[in-house]
Symmetry: C2
Subunit: 284 residues, 2 copies
Amino acid sequence: MELWYSEKHTNNVKFSLKVKEHIFSSQSKFQKVDIFDTYEYGKLLTLDGLVMVTERDEFVYHDMIVHTAMAVNSEIKNVLVIGGGDGGTVRELVRYPFVKQVDMVEIDKMVVDVSREYLPTISCELDNERVNVLYEDGIKFVKDKNNFYDLILIDSTDPIGPGEGLFTIDFYTNCYNALTDKGILINQNETPIYDEFFKVGINSNRKLKKMFPIVEVYGANIPTYPGGYWLFNFASKKYNPIDDFNEDKWNSLNIKTRYYNTNLHKGSFALPNFVKEKLEDGNV
Amino acid sequence: MELWYSEKHTNNVKFSLKVKEHIFSSQSKFQKVDIFDTYEYGKLLTLDGLVMVTERDEFVYHDMIVHTAMAVNSEIKNVLVIGGGDGGTVRELVRYPFVKQVDMVEIDKMVVDVSREYLPTISCELDNERVNVLYEDGIKFVKDKNNFYDLILIDSTDPIGPGEGLFTIDFYTNCYNALTDKGILINQNETPIYDEFFKVGINSNRKLKKMFPIVEVYGANIPTYPGGYWLFNFASKKYNPIDDFNEDKWNSLNIKTRYYNTNLHKGSFALPNFVKEKLEDGNV
């Protein structure tokens, strides 16, 4: 017998992983949560049937959502993570000694619980003394915060289900206000390969540009995500991700990474023409 | 009824495209040749059941195998393409007015014939007056050439079937001799995501390094290839792909591209740490 997990990236493209064992399956208050043990990518967490993280390639996403911002401003003290229940983003953040406080606001406690149990290499820093894990709605949480966070990382699902409100102008406005005057916001910005995804990414990018003086897009190769290529928005009040990037400073921290490096940092902002054009035109 | 084409990227990872119609299928003297019409990627050419090109994402591969070299040396006159029977590489080469002669040596005439018939947007320049299409074994063809080609592009399948001899030190030695003293050789260098592929890529890279003083690796996002991420070797007798890269010169040519641009050129040589380490260690 063979057991395969399949995700339809579009109605006409399917990505499948051979499964050793379907370890966990439950419906939380917010979404369906599953853990599979796969042959090629180790443990896999899916939410509503879509790949969130695998043990083998999670380092790409977590390196790129965290280190890109941290390397631009080495005075980041207070960080807010919206979502990120698997803990990978938090794990990378606490590697910086100058980070004082990480508030991780995850709406779905079940995601944190299964990650603690089945994904220990990812969730391993959730009990770090600088980390506060809050089971709350990030949209509500950020509303009354003002001029406090140096960095906000929106480590969310796509805008279906609980992630929906994390792509609105109201939410971005509240994030803007929650940030200090040197604040940076990063959010995952979908794949440009398939239009259904990139429509969401383009919209998110346009909304952030209405507020933040600096919004740049960068990309990374994530083999288990649709198209194998994923984008992020770098939205910032003061620092430009290239011009204000101090590579010597970051390299002096001696943080060992498997994906990120300072050359790649610069390279990741060099987008293919079809991506740049779609972002500029606003059409997919 | 639903018809799906599936490729196993490893024994445990499968990529599938929904098919409108299986248009062509035949066994040539060298390999199995198929054309499918897919919903998401348009026409798809497979050789021995593996994706070679699709109409929708072929521009990535062909941009990156051609323009990266052409932008480093703007005096390239004589080009040899080994393989490349679909014609996409030739199509990009003849966009340069200073290219005088392109010899395309494709062992399998059936690949050229089906591309002419079913992939006209890719094969459209095979009858260009500067192009010689030769149905010969590239390994033999290159043996007695000396100091003639400014650029050799090895646009081959993986080293299974007819592509096998294109990954040997003998073949690379003959290519080296066939190149002028400013010669550049580019070959596709597999995905670093799956070890079975990257073993081949690392070997090819090591062999080229024994001969060429400059060998650098660059990458591109090709969604229908394993891992969605593909590497190329840039092997060169004289020109460094970054230090000798004249972006103003290339931009002045006004060649419109959908993937390649001069920022991306530089960015594509910035590799993730896990790729750099595997290339340096020689182990996967």
